[in-house]
Amino acid sequence: MVLSLIVFLPMVYALFVAGLPEKAVKKATLGLSIIHFLFSLSLLQFFNPDTANLQMVERLTWMPELGVTYFLGIDGISFWLVLLTTFLTPIVIAGSWSSIVKQEKAFHISMLVLESAMIGSFLAFDSILFYIFFELSLIPMYFIVGIWGGENRIYATLKFFIYTMAGSLLMLAGIIYLIFQCDTQLGQISASVLDFYKLDLPFVSGRLLNPQNVLFFIFCLAFAIKVPMFPFHTWLPDAHVQAPTGGSMILAGVMLKMGTYGFLRFVLPVFPESVAEYTPLFMALGLVGIIYGALVAMVQVDMKKLVAYSSVSHMGYVILGLFAMNMMGLQGSLFQMLAHGISTGALFLLVGVIYERTHSREIAAYGALAKAIPIYAISFLIITFSSIAVPMTNGFVGEFLILFGTFQASPYVGSVAVLGVILGAAYMLWMVKKVFFGEEGAIVKKYPDMPDMNWRELATLAPLVIMVFWMGLFPGTFLRVSEKSLENLVKNKHNYNISVELKEDDSRSLGVNSEL
């Protein structure tokens, strides 16, 4: 029952918020999302990190003809992603406090629905249910960019929507194929992801077009667009630049992780032979993503675009770690997803803060901001250091583990990937230098009495900064939870399975009727 509540309470809140007067919406949503975060912390209590089993399972029949069930569960892979979502949502809402001026109610409803959808996709263990949540998350995002975005918002939101939609529609076809494969191979039609793991999909080495490969590429395409992996990344800069601050935060903070999560949940375990065969390709793409994203970020003129390209680079690390397929790489990737969510969310928040003051994101127009608004500058520096992976911040642990894992899997790829560390420092520090140091730019002269960060903004940022250091100093908190689940994946590449922990009384009260 807990998982259902975690997934659907935001939607209930959204209904509740819809009935409130426009003025109270902001405060109510913030309050409710904080409550929801505190509620989701109860998972810490229920979750047992010492097993790879699927826990707190809820399963109800839904469409028996297709084997579709309402199937929620949580394991070490989903755990922190769910908490990341519930953690970021209140921050996003607080971060949009003064930047959203029109149709506040609709914005906050979209945010809550989005939260529901994202959590749902992390918890769903039925492929169709996953697909529904995966797609559902597009709709609020579509509106968030399309209504509250910048000048070119319609173009950006359409590009975002169609890009991701195109990928995931193909995935739906793949899911349906897998569902019928369950019927053929297992004798029972099923849309459960756990049953997909049991499938033995036909594979012929060295031939591009065999069933497993085709399915593999279909799924990869859907998730690669979402991640986004080079060369499917071009929607991201546009979407980020046009999206409002809150939209960018949630997009970079959580939505991108749905793609990498998809790789971890579907691609790696369901298509093991194809993964093994095409690992070089994906490692190469991850590598190109790292270097390419960093290089392109280096020549950007718009702060948000720079951060967007830095996301491409950072997500390249995640892909690299995933396809390294060893403990270091996987743990690093999962950790990097969280770390990137925190630090890039914070970066977008900070860019939003300055944008509200000056209505400009042009790097060259700034300069000497550190003198005008020192607290802002310090905050930005801290987050920058987290983003360029200085030790004792969250970014370091993730990048270190990923590079380590990659090096272990392939020293050559690892050696090249390390270059990303240098380039990452180059583009971020270049921006810091231009914006905060040097001589006063046009914008800074235009607003001589720019106010420094106020208490609300500081309070919004503070949790992120705390997480930056917590994750950097005590990564064990996070790594420990995913350890068993990922160990299971690494050790059982070809016969991966998750067993289900089901309490007797639970199943009866929920009316679970299938043999799991």
Binding site: V296, M298, M327, F400, L403, K433
Partner: protein, 638 residues
Amino acid sequence: MFYVLLFAPLLGFLINGFRFRSTNAKLAGTIASGAILLSFISALFYFGQLIKMPAEARSLSFILFDWIQVGDFSAQMGFTLDPLSMVMTLIITGVGFLIHLFSVGYMDHDERPAKYFAYLNFFVFNMLLLVLGNNLLVMFVGWEGVGLCSYLLIGFWFSDPEKAAAGMKAFITNRIGDAGFLLGIFTIFLTFGTVTFTEIASSVPAEPLTGWTSPITLACLFLFIGAMGKSAQIPLYVWLPDAMAGPTPVSALIHAATMVTAGVYMIIRMNVLFLAAPNAMMIVAIVGALTALMAATIGLAQNDIKKVLAYSTVSQLGYMFLAVGVGAFGAGLAHLMTHAFFKALMFLGSGSVIHAMHEEQDMRKMGGLKKYMPITHATFVCGWLAIIGFPFFSGFFSKDEILWMSFHSPRGHWLLWVVGVIAAMFTAFYMTRLMAMTFWGKSRVPESIHPHESPVTMTIPLIVLGFLSVFAGWLCVPHGLGSVLPGHPHNFLDQWIHPLMGKLEMGHGSLGMEFGLMGVSLVLVFASAFMAYRFYVVDPSLPQKAQARVKGLYDLVANKYWVDEGYFKFIINPLVRLSRHLWADVDVKLIDRATYSISDLFKNAGGGLRMVQSGNMQVYALYILIGVVVSLFFLMAR
């Protein structure tokens, strides 16, 4: 107590960091210096403890918590106090304290003294992490941390775009090294299954491996890339001269005494590993010797007092790498220590000069400062004599040991000795030149400036460091010299760290050879110092004439071999151009166009089908007719 040693600077950082707007330099300085003093006292306490222990057991370890643990890999936040880290800790906190003290006077008029002291304390904290860490990962934390502080402090006066750029350059160049360091960590873990120093040392095979591609050689080379970045060796030395943009005490602390020696420390720490990789050691020695020579030549033609000292630092670091590269780890550490004293002294002295000259750093506008600044001059003379290796000053012992070892060690070579001696000659020349242009001869000080001696908080550190520069050498008297000097002083430092060293059979060589070589180098050094004196004091018109005669050579050296320009021309600019192309051509033109062409495909298909929908009823009717006829045809045909 140990946590006082480690965390006092962090506490100082936090206190000053939270009151960063404060303009009270005295208060901020007191807090910061107090924190370091506390650290220093704790370090002395532990020094006492270590001395009491038997030599082989001198090691105290402190585990804070498990930091990263994934699969087989685990790294603790753990620290070790052993003879080596003890020496470093004493240097860092001791010299650090003096420099903090000096800064109180130096930063008196600054706008943001609290911020400055916060950074400085944070630097000391990170430096302590670096030297105290019991595994490579904690060392790396400090390694990056000091780079970070260096970045912040070089760019401390960030309103000047050049200074901000210098900070960035330092960080990014260091990052190149750090990338190598990371690869080194990876290789070591994959080879030995651990990153803890003691465990690595105990699992290194006894026999050296001669191949180039053995994992140990690779690991050593990777680590050495890290050292190149941090310790400013060819080809990554370019950031250090630019780093002089920071406040002068920062240059003394970070860019002379402590941070830049981290690379040397790291190699001494990993000595067992390096001994197993003779090829890697050879590279270290060659790079060290070349750096020593090249930086010394550049130092000959610089006019900025701090730039001369910066190149001198690069050059002296080269000596240290030469030492560790030939397996003379004790000599490397000895030079590290004496250099920390005399170079910190000279940087602080130059800071005192610059302070007196109202931020003027060009030596052509100085001269004759001796009579205005007697204490600064006197202490500077100590530093000068120490660095050129004047007999029985500290630098004499350590440098002599290095030169002798580079000749005598089984990993050495007479060519290394030759390069080292030539570099020593140049060192004597440019340091004498610096002394002459700054303190001696006729005054070229502009009318508007009235130089004065610095306040007492600035001169006390100078005096203490001057004392150390003169006498510290007696802690590391080379064996040969020790046997003839009265009282037969030992090489205390070498003995102190001996338990941590790997085995390398050296023997003692012939005394006659040792003294002969020493005599040759001394004669050359004196000759060169005398020549510089003639050039810059006796007949100041000589330099111009000499320059005119070897103009091409002079330009090459004065322009630092155009290395910076080369980096820009061949690496950075092409990279930026490439990035622009990637963005404009690949992202916008290629990828976006490819995706648009897919969407255009559907659009055009729709556009084509649109024509069918003409809106003309009669045409629709015709379609119906055609449809009927075709269907009938098919029905009939069946």
